[in-house]
């Protein structure tokens, strides 16, 4: 394949992902507004586009399938086929199928596909035999979530047969026409084999979507059709950020020498320069920001599929989808969000019967609200379900030995135990959520992004999960500290408080060393100079500054010479030759143009903490 052809194909793939996303939204909208002619026109346009371009760039398999899909849509559009939930499901399934094809093509431009099963389904729908489609659909739905459920109704033998059939279809180098494939399929399955099996094949392929790498999918942000945007590589944006950072530093240096300038024109230009460079910095930083829209819209689908499988009626409300966040944060945000939203539908909302019994509306309501709060992005996922009962959590926690039977926890603390590893409250493990690796994974993932997640719940009224994330990972708020002759940067997120360790606070504990006694709590105290193996200024402990670090295991104090100031720093990655150094998050360039290391105090002292822990519990706890 020559370069040009490859480029054209890659362009198509990027465009197709956009089209598919749009289509999915349209299908979902269609479900709630079945008579909307505009929507139908839009869908038809998208399908037609996809068919045309895929054929033009030479993806025959995609074109062939989209042709069938277009046929179906045309029939629906012209009113020959009634729009029912079954039809919408089928359309979504078609959409997923195309997505899978596009993803596979993204990885290997020569991939080939079999669409025979799903085309068969479309044909069924076209001939009006929708009943059987819907029937299979309901089985297939569950399959999406958990294959084992199906294996109850279908023997293991059949599954094996199905797998070998799939393998056969996927066999490289073999290209069949549709008829041939159908024939093969027939020869593979004995006549008495459940017809549902045949329908399962595409669903299994759908299940693979989540296993595929997410690249490209998030790359396209907004419809190229609706706004003029260009795609720029993140590396280039980072380069620009670097250079702009330098510009701002030079500008600061100039500003520091203002007093030496007496020429009024120069002074005026200098302040203009300051204003401009600040603006340039803001713009260059905003280039990394993308709206949450795409990620939040995916939740529509999650809620739809989850609620269908659980037979609950759920309305999803999304507020603030235009809120922007750093692209790197966004990429890691999708998974935790999916988890929380699924949980809200599965665990949060009661069954329809229960809702009616407690006098609530039949439809459950899940809302996702995103907004900026200071330098943070807040996403609130709330449901109007039954809330989390601290009593049940307590029982579960004791049963699972997460807490001891006599431990005294407040309701709030109990509720937050759901983030504890290996804690799942739902009595029976369902396919949707609750495999025991639930909320703790969400919590760890969000904490990896330097964010936090909290839950507020009201029994009978519902729960709110609040996810707070920094707007960008490229800039952090930090303290610049003096250690000996050098300066080190400590992220503000790690600092709980700082104080001067006066003699009445410092106590010596045998086997542990100096400790701080603070509000009745005893906190081990470490000197940063031994951890870094760098000298500190020669002065007594009491003249130093103690930084209290909030660590998961136990708070500890770190002694530094001085805290110089607080500022925002741009994080720069460390080079390969030193990136393995423990305790360093990166580096940054300070106001005078000199680089300084950003410390990760928790990592830096994790070894010391472990060493001291044994001594500590021995000596202090009693």
């Amino acid at each position: 394949m020559d370069e040009f052809e490859k480029e054209v194909k890659l362009d198509f793939l990027a465009e197709a992902i956009q089209l598919l996303n749009d289509a999915e939204q349209a299908f979902l909208a269609l479900e709630s507004d079945k008579n909307n002619a505009n929507l139908m026109n839009e869908i038809f346009r998208l399908a037609h586009n996809l068919k045309g371009t895929s054929r033009a760039v030479g993806f025959g398999d995609v074109a062939e399938f989209t042709h069938e899909m277009e046929n179906l849509i045309l029939k629906v559009k012209e009113g020959h086929i009634q729009i029912t939930d079954g039809i919408v499901s089928l359309l979504l399934e078609c959409n997923d199928h195309v997505s899978v094809m596009i993803k596979m093509l993204n990885m290997d431009l020569d991939s080939r596909f079999s669409s025979v099963e799903i085309i068969a389904k479309i044909k069924l729908a076209l001939t009006g035999k929708l009943e059987s489609v819907v029937e299979c659909e309901s089985i297939a739905q569950t399959d999406n979530e958990n294959e084992s459920v199906i294996s109850n109704s279908i023997s293991a033998e059949d599954i094996a047969l199905l797998e070998s059939f799939e393998r056969d279809l996927d066999a490289p180098g073999e290209v069949f026409s549709n008829d041939q494939k159908e024939e093969r399929a027939r020869s593979f399955f004995p006549t008495e084999a459940p017809k549902a099996i045949l329908e399962l094949v595409p669903e299994k392929a759908v299940g693979k979507v989540s296993d595929l790498p997410e690249h490209k999918k998030t790359a396209t942000n907004k419809g190229a059709a609706e706004d003029d945007s260009i795609r720029v590589s993140l590396a280039r944006v980072e380069l620009l950020n670097n250079v702009v950072g330098e510009l701002v530093i030079i500008q600061t240096v100039l500003n520091q020498h203002r007093d030496e300038i007496h020429n009024p024109l120069m002074l005026k230009s200098l302040s203009q320069l300051a204003k401009l460079s600040k603006e340039i910095q803001n713009i260059s930083m905003s280039l990394r920001m993308v709206p949450l829209k795409q990620t939040l819209q995916k939740m529509q689908r999650i809620v739809r599929d989850t609620s269908k499988a659980l037979d609950k009626k759920v309305v999803l409300e999304i507020i603030g989808e235009e809120t922007e966040i750093d692209k790197t944060v966004l990429e890691h945000l999708a998974d935790p969000l999916v988890h929380i939203v699924r949980n809200a539908v599965d665990h949060g909302l009661e069954s329809t019967a229960d809702r009616l019994r407690s006098g609530k509306s039949q439809e459950g309501r899940v809302s996702i609200k995103a907004f900026h709060e200071g330098n943070n992005l807040v996403i609130e996922i709330s449901d109007d379900g039954n809330g989390i009962d601290p009593k049940i959590i307590r029982e579960k926690a004791i049963e699972k030995k997460v807490i001891s039977a006599n431990s005294n926890l407040t309701d709030d603390e109990l509720v937050n135990l759901i983030f504890h590893p290996g804690f799942s409250t739902k009595a029976e493990v369902s396919e949707i959520s609750g495999r025991g690796v639930g909320m703790d994974v969400v919590k760890t993932n969000i904490e990896k992004l330097s964010g936090e997640v909290k839950v507020v719940t009201q029994l009978g009224k519902g729960s709110v999960f609040k996810v707070v994330l920094p707007l960008t990972l490229a800039i952090i708020e930090a303290m610049v500290t003096q250690i000996g002759e050098e300066r080190y940067i400590i992220p503000l997120g790690q600092i709980y408080e700082s104080l001067s360790p006066t003699p009445d606070l410092v106590h010596h504990v045998n086997g542990v060393g100096n400790c701080l006694k603070l509000r009745g709590q005893i906190i081990p105290m470490f000197s940063i100079s031994s951890a870094l193996q760098r000298p500190m200024k020669e002065k007594s402990i009491h003249e130093q500054i103690a930084i209290i670090v909030n660590s998961e295991e136990r708070n500890f104090a770190v002694l530094v010479d001085d805290i110089l100031h607080q500022q925002q720093v741009v994080i720069k990655k460390l080079g390969n030759e030193i990136k393995n150094q423990k305790g360093f998050m990166g580096s940054s360039i300070l106001g005078d143009g000199r680089p300084a290391f950003i410390l990760d105090l928790i990592e830096l002292f994790s070894g010391s903490m472990k060493k001291k822990k044994i001594n500590f519990t021995d000596d202090v706890a009693v």
């Binding site: 250079v243 050098e486 030759e577 423990k582 580096s587 360039i589």
Partner: protein, 165 residues
Amino acid sequence: MEKDNVTKMKRTNAELSRFIEFSLGKEDYAIPLLMVREVISVPDTTPIPKSPNHFLGIMNLRGQVISVVDLRKKLKIEARQDKEEAVIIVDIGGMNIGVVVDSINKVLAFSSDEVSEMPEVENQINTHFIFGIYKKENSLTILLDIAKVLDLKDMEAISGFKKAA
């Protein structure tokens, strides 16, 4: 990898290989010119805690933070102390590192047959980072494989350090 580059250079351009020659103490050394990004005067550096002795620190190269290594300390050569010091920014497979040398001499251009192998000496300490010697009229220039001098071994040393700490 860099050695491959040099052999390739020898093959494709048998006429001339270009090297930048610099001094460490009283001796002359050279590295391939193609690996040199730029040459600057010794910048302000920030020391790297817990790093081997020859790591001078990190510096700010127009917004990029890179490590600076003192090649004299690394090769255990006594510095000349005549304030002529310079830093060569080398590009080793996309990774930029500053290398402090006593002085930059000139750019050498020679054909590959003027390069001789490192002589076999008994009790030879490690010479794997030298890939040849260029003979001039009355002196020698040692051709260094800078990646081998600095790169992998140091990175291992640091992760070793990490484990020890």
